[in-house]
């Protein structure tokens, strides 16, 4: 523990600047942030630069490896893989982040209510959490998508409707670990001296939760959240792989991987490109989460 005042500290050393200073020390997290940033940039700006249509079929160039015309090769219909991976990345990353947000927000709210209320409310919410944990997720996921796919498609169009459904379903099955983390944190933090001290100095219950308990419980939630992004991307890939994700003509990383599986022997590049993209995204998000947790915890001396 540092006893002396850091010499470099100035009066303007805000939490943000401090966090950034600590984050920079975490090399892997920095690399993760950089790679993820590049990936996001690529999927956002890439289709504008690489203006090959994702569905231009060219049977003369089927299952070709990387070349100048198709830097990442082509699939069995001769469609350009670079264009498809770039476009698919938009959907996969968006699904990942949106599903993570749902899982973290729902999980935090349920966990916080359970941890604060205790008693029968806590018991009921934990029972619900256990129930969700015990459900066989994949079959249920498939069933829900099968049941609601057409209704939502009619409501919001094939792409947007599917996006909402997949995000809701994946997020809706991933909030339980966050709930348990937050509840455990709340149960221990609410008994801490600084919470009692704040109460002794006139803080309202809402303020105690929002300012004193919640910020102290966020470290594990951030890490769980980054893992959730990764899991959601993989879950979307699984759904696409099973043919229940987005419509077949819309590429996502999982969908491209699914289409590639029958041609692994003649065109391995087809599977390796979306697979590598998923791998890289998941890995950099995990390191990013590690770094964020450390950077946002002022106790950690780095």
């Amino acid at each position: 523990m540092s006893g002396s005042i850091p010499a470099s500290r100035t009066a303007s050393g805000s939490l943000g600047a401090e966090a950034w200073r600590r984050f920079r020390r975490h090399r892997l997290a920095l690399a993760g942030a950089l790679i993820l940033g590049l990936m996001v940039l690529a999927v956002l700006a890439g289709p504008l630069v690489w203006q090959v249509p994702i569905n231009e079929i060219d049977f003369t160039a089927r299952l070709k490896g990387p070349s100048w015309r198709h830097p990442l090769g082509t699939d069995d219909l001769g469609q350009d893989l670079l264009a498809r991976v770039l476009y698919g990345g938009r959907i996969s990353l968006a699904v990942g982040f949106a599903a993570m947000l749902i899982a973290v927000v729902v999980g935090t709210i349920v966990g916080a209510v359970a941890g604060i209320a205790r008693g029968s409310v806590d018991a009921a919410l934990m029972w619900l959490t256990d129930l969700f944990l015990a459900l066989p997720q994949l079959p249920l996921l498939l069933l829900i998508i099968y049941l609601f796919r057409d209704a939502l498609r009619a409501l919001a169009g094939p792409e947007a409707g599917m996006f909402v459904l997949i995000v809701a379903v994946i997020g809706g099955f991933r909030w339980m670990p966050v709930t348990r983390l937050v509840r455990a944190q709340f149960l221990s933090l609410r008994e801490k001296e600084f919470v009692e001290a704040a109460r002794a100095l006139g803080a309202t219950p809402l303020r105690l939760v929002a300012r004193h308990i919640l910020p102290n419980s966020l470290g594990p939630v951030i890490v769980a959240g980054t893992i959730d992004v990764a899991l959601a991307i993989i879950a979307e890939s699984t759904l696409s792989f099973l043919g229940l994700g987005f419509p077949p003509d819309i590429p996502t990383w999982g969908r491209i991987l699914y289409d590639a599986k029958d041609h692994l022997d003649v065109a391995p590049h087809w599977a390796m490109i979306p697979g590598g993209a998923i791998f890289l995204a998941v890995l950099s998000i995990n390191y990013l989460g590690d770094g964020l947790r450390d950077a946002l915890d002022p106790r950690r001396v780095m």
Partner: protein, 326 residues
């Protein structure tokens, strides 16, 4: 002379447990006037802290319950107040400092943010004004370079410094009473003296009263004007500090004073340090009679028959013991 600043009458705070009712505080009477330092002593588990927490209404209810008694703050009973009214009293009227300075500050905010939060909770001031006031408070508790250190996090302070920060925080709204619950117990001896000195200095400066809860007789001797001795949930003796040390009347008080280690006599006579034999009785449905009777060297038959009431035996000297009248 008008109403006391704080007067506790017949306070009983009990805890419901699986084994039964724990009578943690069982009929406590004490009073505190403006600008006075009252020491509350007793060994662990005698109900000192529960009394303080009852005043602040900081006990989780249930399991705790104030069964009987009044807590009169400037003549107004705090017991029936709702949570909202009680919050307005905390910090603004009565503030509290706790035993553990290492964990009493929120680790994720700078100390400046935490002190400013208390100021802004109770006073309508802007961010800038609150920060200025925070720096001023840190200066008052003798933290060097306060302009810079307001932006530091709790882990960058030592234990003694954190207790200073806690005191600054508690005093930031200029309360009329500061309850200090073992403020120096977790600190080492030289720091203890500094904190006690600081408390005395600030007490004079703000003209506030201090209720100092401790189990260290030495701390009491140094700071308090009046002392209340508690045993097993009851007040057994109350006296001005000099009189308590020169003429302790209750056998428990006598035992406490004898058990203070004294370097001169111990070195001269190589005597063993005296301790009070036995342990604090269970507060679970206690039997009638004097609570100290099982450990008392002067116990008589009447001691276990009925509880001796707290009565005045001299000016400002109260005693709850059958041995009172010599």
């Amino acid at each position: 002379m008008g109403a006391h600043l704080l007067e506790i009458r017949g306070l009983k705070t009990h805890f419901a447990t699986d084994e039964g009712m724990v009578h943690a505080v069982d009929g406590v009477d004490l009073a505190l006037d403006r600008g006075e330092t009252l020491g509350v002593v007793g060994e662990s588990g005698c109900g000192k802290s529960v009394t303080a927490l009852s005043v602040m209404r900081l006990l989780a209810m249930p399991p705790a319950r104030i069964v009987a008694g009044e807590i009169l703050w400037q003549g107004r009973d705090l017991v029936p107040l709702d949570a909202e009214a009680m919050r307005a009293i905390r910090a603004k009227e009565i503030a509290m400092v706790f035993q553990e300075p290492m964990t009493s500050l929120n680790p994720v905010y700078t100390i400046g943010e935490q002190i400013a939060e208390v100021i802004r909770l109770h006073e309508r001031v802007g961010r800038r004004a609150a920060l200025d006031k925070t720096v001023e408070m840190l200066k008052l508790v003798h933290i060097s370079h306060p302009e810079r250190r307001v932006h530091d996090y709790p882990h960058e302070f030592s234990g003694g410094m954190r207790q200073r920060v806690m005191i600054a925080m508690a005093l930031s709204c200029k309360p009329k009473l500061l309850i200090a619950d073992e403020p120096t117990t977790a600190l080492d001896v030289t720091i203890q003296a500094q904190i006690l000195e600081l408390l005395g200095e600030l007490k004079d400066r703000f003209g506030m009263a201090v209720m100092l809860i401790t189990h260290a007789m030495g701390v009491i001797a140094e700071t308090a004007q009046r002392v209340v001795v508690m045993y097993a949930g009851k007040v057994v003796e109350e006296a001005p500090v000099r009189e308590l040390f020169s003429e302790p009347r209750h056998p428990y008080t006598q035992g406490l004073i004898r058990s203070i280690p004294r370097i001169d006599t111990a070195a001269a006579r190589k005597t063993r340090l005296e301790a009070i034999a036995g342990v604090v009785p269970s507060l679970l449905e206690p039997a009638p009679g004097c609570r100290f009777a099982p450990r008392c060297p002067f116990v008589r038959a009447e001691c276990t028959a009925r509880t001796p009431p707290l009565r005045e035996i001299g000016p400002g000297h109260k005693l709850a013991c059958v041995l009172g009248s010599p």
